[in-house]
Amino acid sequence: MRRFIVWLLAVSYWPLAFAQSAFEEANSAYADGRYADAATMYQALIDETPDAVVYYNLGNAQFKQGELAQAILNYERALRLRPNYPDAKYNLAFAQSRITDNIPEQDFFLSVWARAIRNNLHERTWLILSISLFLLALVGILLFLLGREPWLRKTAFHIAWVALIFSLTAGLNAGSLHKRDTLRSEAIITQGVVNAKSSPDRSGTDLFTVHEGTKVTIRETLGEWCNIRVGNNEGWIKQQNMERI
């Protein structure tokens, strides 16, 4: 019986143990400077189970090989899985400082802050936060409506409206993250230089140029063409010129 339990444990942990050894092998390849080998192994691990750490390491291996766009793409993917990943954030900023395009932040500073805050937490976390705050707000409302003591009712009222507003914000953040991740509406330019056209065909007028590694927002897809937005510019480029995060 005991033997059976040991066997069962071994079987259930075997894939994890396998992944761990492959991960360590890839790490040693990276340490030896065999970046191409390391990248291949990390990619194989990701094909099995996507993991923020493996994405981050893959990004590093690609960065060391000079594949800037791929590195940026994988740092972004790592941050999708672990929003608060300081190393990935640092390396992403580092890689982005090496790309050609300098897209100035066109949005209002409040929305920039809002997005930064949103990206700091996982969608699931935002959702749990939203529900918890909503429950708190309900309790506050009940206390306000039914309480007899004036001070209690006053406190409950303030707690309730603050909690309700935060719950709404958290819920909106969760929803916007959900939309971003399910639609995969952000992409990284992988081709060296791409001309964005005014219409989704080759004869369209060239509107502006984007370079490798630039992050764009996909607004619409039409066949093999995508309508993208970079800063204040909007234009059509081919899907093959970029990769969705």
Binding site: L16, A19, Q20, F23, E24, N27, Y30, T49, P50, D51, A52, V53, V54, Y56, N57, N60, A61, F63, K64, Q65, G66, L68, A71, L81, R82, Y85, D87, Y90, N91, A93, F94, A95, S97, R98, T100, D101, N102, E123, R124, L127, I131, F134, L135, L138, V139, I141, L142, L145, L146, A174, H178, D181, T182, Q191, G192, V193, N195, T209, H211, E212
Partner: protein, 604 residues
Amino acid sequence: MALMGFADDVVFKAQAPGQVIVGRPFQLTYTVNQRSRDFRAPEFTDFDVLSGPYTSTSSSTSFVNGRRTSSFEQTYTFMVMALNAGTFTIGPATVKVDGNQVQSNGVRIQVLPEDQQAQQGASGSSSQTSQSSQTSQSSASGQTSSENLFVRTIASKTKVHEQEALMITYKLYFANVDVAQLTNNTKLPEFTGFLKQEFDQGEIQTELEHYNGRNYRTATLYRTILYPQHSGDIKIDPARFEAVLRVQTQQRVRSIFDDFFGTYTNVTKTLTAPGVTIHVSALPSGKPAGFSGGVGKFTLTPSISQTELQANDAVTIRLDINGAGNMKLLKTPAIDWPEGFEPYDPKVTNNFNASASGVSGTKSIEYLAIPRSAGEYTIPAVKFSYFDIDEKAYKTLSTPEYTIHVKRGANEPSAAGGQQSAVVSYTQKEDIKQLGTDIRYIDTKDLGKSRQQSAVSYQFIWLWYVVPFVLALVILIILRKQIKENADMNRVRYKRANKVAQKRLKAAAAALKANDANTFYAAIETAAWSYLSDRLSIPTADLNKENIASLLRQKGVSDTLISDVMNVLSTAEFARYAPSTDHAMDDLFAATTNLINNLEDQKI
């Protein structure tokens, strides 16, 4: 002796003037540079042999630096006369050298008709006025009239298109005049409105030419190719030349020797070539977009150095424009390089050949560009348009569209590398943040901590909001109802409080009369407590003196009344367990009745 070598070096040549005049004898010579025999003359069909062949030989030997060189020449000479005007060929002659038969070249001779003047024996000056020079101001004898010496302006074409080549030739004609030399005092027109293409004039050679019924010796003084630069009638001004003539002096003969040796003086004569007007028509409308300004006939040969290369390697596109026309004015076509290419100024190599027929040759243009990033690029076709002078139409030549595959350069500094001087050259960012020198190291321990989780399902998320909300609503409704019921009950109790109190007081009064102390105190206590409880809506559980006092104070009841209330309550309580005298009971009854009445008045 190298006999064969000798035979190879045999040169057998026929010589005759290029132009002859009918009825005038001329010399036809055949020259061999070896000793020969058995000379066989060709058949003379259009010529009369007046005499010959005369054979003559000459040989010379010379020592130069101890080396002996000898030359030998054997000449057969005929005196021949042409019978008819036209162009005729005298066939080759043969000769035997060391037993081998050697053939000479044939001779082509242009036979000009006889002078009309000579035939008529008249001056015939009326026939040649317009083309010949009018000025003969200089001191010249009667011989040097304008018929005998003039300069013609010959335009190869007088009706041309814009940019179409034409040649202007100034030709000196002279007959019966001895032209010693031409001075440098030449004034050529400005040729305004034309682009002038000079070319090698060559040595001045005289030729015979039949012109206006006379045979002249001619010499080409100056030739140039002109390209008209605008449409309309463009006038070329007259040119001026100066010739030095040898004229026999017309002085009296002093001795027979004078006439024998001849007495000549040099006379300078100014010759004016007439002006000429060129009619230039504009190029037809409908010029193609990429019109190069070329007029003529051209071909285009494009080539590309490589279509597969690494970033930062150079690619060269070469266009060879070959043809004839206004090559010098051809615009260099521009290549529309795609973004990401760093183009350099094209290198143009001209290899032109100017001759009497115009300018021809090759214009080679090399376009160099360096792709700075990897990718697949398309270089659009380069169009070169010109006006075809033969077909009188615009033609467009085009290169193919090149597709260039640029791989990531090996020497492109990897982003991880420390030095990035090459990158800086094309990075146009102004505010690069100095973040450090390298990326952070890989994460080696946190595997599995942040795996991708299944996507959050929003199908039932709303339940998390709706269920607690409904629950809260239910709680609220229930509690509200209860509160309302309580409030109603309190109201009833409030309204009935006095009645109930009076009833209890009546019972107390009855007990007082019966002198039943226990019943009396119980009744009084109940009456007081229940009245306060009903009036102040205090549940029985919370009923105590402190609560009552504080509530009364809240309702604005005076302190004396409150102390009365407290007094009654404590007296009743106290008396119940320690009964006292009768009049105490009477006092308490009165106090309680009084108190309730007072409180009723206060409308608490």
